[in-house]
């Protein structure tokens, strides 16, 4: 298996606060990699560093064969075209309808696209993400929080990316919606060979779809592996995380 993403010795920080210190992580092609960690351990910052929004202080980031930390603007943009990102708070364009939100990256990539094509493809992506057809003409302010999550996923998928980064996509969804979302990610992974970087606090999602799980603690990735492998490490935070009542409910441990 080749790597879709390799991070080595990453150091990031804001001001005099260090968020990551020597973090290393590898994500294989075609896998769903769960990323867990307490609130404020830097999962979102890691995601932003990988896609080049937070400049790293040290370390190497290799995304789909491009060194994101040192490549030029053009090369970085080319790599980003092959990835999709869903931010923690959706980050939909507030003045566009949901359909236009999904069409925006398509028209950016292929400026002369026939409106029938972009429209149809955008509506399909919205439907895939589980949104009803009426929602396509609404703006982000006119839909519920859970629908915004789905629209964020639809936009992340707009260009059929090879890798998608999802920051807590199921937070705030009802359990049925969250399970449907997990099933959708699995479907897409099977049909498109999607590689997924899946930041989540949702233990059910971890159990249902993640091939491996990376645990962020102490400014580093302290362990990566399947959930049984993680528990075998005996790390105290991991024990509390999976051994708590919610963890036992999800993993039957």
């Amino acid at each position: 298996m080749t790597a879709a993403l390799t991070v080595e010795g990453l150091v990031t920080g804001f001001g005099d606060r260090t968020i990551h210190d020597g973090l290393s992580l590898t994500m294989h092609r075609g896998e769903v990699l769960g990323v867990v960690g307490g609130s404020g351990t830097g999962k979102s910052v890691l995601l932003r560093a990988i896609i080049g929004l937070v400049p790293p202080r040290a370390g190497r980031i290799d995304l789909l064969g491009t060194r994101m930390d040192e490549a030029g603007e053009e090369a970085r943009r080319a790599a980003l075209r092959r990835t999709g990102v869903m931010f923690q708070d959706g980050a939909l364009f507030s003045s566009l309808t949901l359909r236009q939100n999904v069409e925006a990256p398509m028209l950016e990539r292929f400026p002369g696209l026939d409106p029938r094509t972009s429209r149809g493809a955008a509506e399909l992506k919205l439907a895939l993400a589980g949104l009803p057809p009426e929602a396509a003409d609404l703006r982000p302010s006119e839909i519920s929080g859970g629908m915004r999550k789905r629209a964020g996923l639809a936009r992340a998928l707009a260009l059929d990316p090879e890798v998608v980064f999802l920051d807590e996509p199921t937070a705030g969804l009802d359990p049925i919606g969250a399970s449907a979302f997990d099933a959708l990610i699995l479907d897409l992974k099977r049909a498109l060979g999607l590689t997924v970087f899946f930041v989540t606090h949702d233990l059910d999602s971890l159990a249902a779809i993640c091939d491996r799980v990376a645990v962020l603690a102490d400014r580093r990735v302290v362990a990566v592996g399947t959930v049984p492998e993680l528990r075998a490490t005996g790390h105290p935070w991991i024990e509390r995380y999976f051994g708590g009542p919610r963890g036992r409910a999800a993993f039957g441990g």
């Binding site: 094509t117 057809p133 982000p140």
Partner: protein, 344 residues
């Protein structure tokens, strides 16, 4: 249209990948028709390609398993075509907006009138902060502009007055126009662009992020918390800025009179004392609080009108500045009439 019976299988799709970028070309190449399509040459499709094939309504033959899987996924998810919801693209400005704006004005006045009786309701920290933001930090730009206007007035006046040998009247020209009109008007316009726009943007982005709703749920009145301190600060700051503008404008005029006409500063002051009463200065200054009220009210009002999209923030900010400047000039005209009637 090719008859399906004459062409049991075909047309063959071009070799290679069918993706978002190539769907349009394929649609043109295929033209209308319902005959079956042979997909054996298609190595790869993306979601847009799968959508196109699934939506074509044609029977599909010979697809590779990966391709077929994606087409099935698309077909299963494909939305039933929905009628696009009509959304009103524009609206006539309604008198209701005006009435609501006046109601807002009234509300601010009521809250302000209650302050002397309940001084603890005054949000002192916030007011002082805005006093600094709208007053202190505006001094450089306001005085610079006013100084330059004084220079321009003296320069233009000199050219005209020299023809009559009436150089000394340049003092009257500068003093009356700066003190009575230009000082306060320019200051109000600069402040409308600077602080009025800032009020709208700040309150509007709080509105967008539901911070205004959060205030309401905490039992706080957004008008009292957000608008009143800003408007109060402006009503205090604008007269002070006007004084600074007056001084700078006279300085600019005096400097240019000296250089161009040889009117020495001593002569300038003497002429001012002899010919210009304090009334011009007071008339100018009296307009400042009214202009401040206009700028502050429009800035805060349009901030509260921002919806939940970024575009309305921009629209309201520009509207606030345009309306404020327009109303300031209308008010200035009204003041001119009033003072003419009063004979000052």
């Amino acid at each position: 249209m090719p008859a399906p019976t004459a062409e049991p299988v075909g047309p063959h799709l071009p070799e290679g990948a069918l993706t978002l970028g190539t769907v349009d070309a394929l649609r043109d190449a295929l033209g209308p028709g319902t005959g079956p399509l042979d997909l054996s040459g298609v190595a790869r499709v993306d979601m847009a390609g799968a959508w196109f094939l699934a939506a074509s309504g044609r029977p599909l033959r010979g697809a590779r398993p990966e391709v077929a899987a994606l087409i099935d996924l698309a077909a299963a998810a494909m939305p039933a075509p929905a009628a696009p919801a009509a959304r009103p693209s524009w609206r006539l400005p309604s008198p209701r907006g005006l009435v609501a704006g006046l109601a807002f004005f009234g509300r601010v006045l009521v809250l302000a009138a209650a302050l002397p009786r309940h001084p603890r309701r005054l949000r002192l920290t916030s007011t002082v902060h805005h006093l600094r933001e709208t007053g202190l930090t505006a001094i450089p730009i306001v005085t610079l502009m006013s100084f330059l206007i004084g220079v321009v007035l003296a320069f233009q006046g000199a050219a005209q007055l020299r023809q009559f040998g009436a150089q000394v009247f340049v003092v009257d020209l500068i003093a009356i126009s700066v003190l009575r009109e230009l000082g306060v008007l320019l200051t109000a316009i600069i402040v409308a662009g600077r602080s009025g726009a800032a009020f709208t943007a700040a309150i509007g982005s709080m509105k967008m992020r539901e911070e205004v709703d959060a205030l309401r749920t905490l039992g706080l009145d957004p008008v009292a918390v957000l608008a009143l301190p800003r408007i109060l600060a402006l009503v205090i700051a604008l007269p002070l800025l006007t004084v600074a503008a007056d001084v700078a404008g006279l300085l600019g005029g005096a400097a240019m009179s000296w250089i161009e006409l040889g009117v020495s500063p001593a002569m300038f002051v003497a002429r001012m004392e002899a010919a210009i009463g304090a009334s011009h200065y007071l008339v100018g200054l009296a307009k400042a609080p009214a202009f401040a009220l206009i700028v502050g009210l429009t800035g805060c009002w349009f901030g509260l009108q921002v919806g939940s999209d970024a575009e309305s923030l921009g629209r309201m900010t520009s509207r606030a500045v345009v309306v404020a400047i327009f109303l300031v000039i209308v008010a200035d005209a009204a003041f001119s009439i009033l003072f003419a009637v009063l004979g000052v």
